[in-house]
């Protein structure tokens, strides 16, 4: 089970979201990931550690390099979670549609009896 709190916290930072967006296109080294940002490599490495601890990325050993890639299951776990939240919200508004339809019927009923709003 993924630590969703850690995962969402990791995503609360714009740099980390940008790193994930870059990794969504494929594996990348720390240097490649640091390039678009005006940040030192240690600062980027710190962001990578947060993402790694949250289970959203992993590293691989390639000679002296440690390329990072996305953990698909981690991203999917968040996606499923959000889908569930979204569903709860949709349930509310689907019910509200019914409430509004009932209100409309009552209003029409009153008009028939000659009452005004």
């Amino acid at each position: 089970m993924y630590n969703l709190d850690a995962a969402f916290s990791a995503l609360a930072d714009p740099t980390r979201r940008a790193i994930l967006a870059r990794l969504a296109k494929g594996e990348a080294t720390v240097n490649e990931l640091a390039e678009p940002f005006e940040m030192t490599q240690p600062a980027i490495s710190q962001h990578l550690k947060v993402l790694e601890d949250a289970g959203l990325i992993v590293r691989r050993v390639d000679g002296t390099k440690r390329p990072r890639r996305l953990v698909k299951a981690g991203i999917e776990a968040m996606d499923q979670w959000l889908a569930m939240l979204r569903k709860a919200l949709e349930n509310n508004y689907d019910r509200l549609d019914q409430v509004l339809a009932t209100m409309e019927q009552h209003k029409m009923g009153k008009h028939k009896k000659g009452e005004t709003r």
Binding site: L4, D5, A12, A24, L82, N92, Y93, D97, M103
Partner: protein, 159 residues
Amino acid sequence: MSNLTMNKLTLKTEGDTHIVVTRHFAASPEAVYRAHTDPKLIQQWLLGPEGWTMPVCINEAKPGGKFRYEWVNGKGSKFHITGEFLELEPHRRIVHVERMHLPDPTPDNHVETRFHADGTGTLMTMRMTLPDAKTRATMLSTGMERGMEASYVRLEGML
């Protein structure tokens, strides 16, 4: 556009602290506003996942007025939200703050809900502002586990 598309919910994060939800309704802004402020109506729809009900719904819909919503799931779980209304422009706009009690109160969520006439119906836009990015993250991952409230994110094109 089909009704299905028209009524589709959108939810997204904005910046580091906002969550924005939009939804179209086939009713007038007056009716949608009333369904958001009349306790008898709120109790019928603001329920979240299957199985939850809202036995307590106190709502003083006036500036400075307080509200309290209590939910139970019939299996021993319950929680509540308290809040205050800051601004109410009838049929157009509601501004309030709220917090969940789980049982400790979560940081205040500042919510602005707007109702715009849109064709024969209403477009609702609900914009939540959390105190900081960390709070928004916690709200998304744990606060909303309790069911309700609004929720969301399509993480800025990423997920």
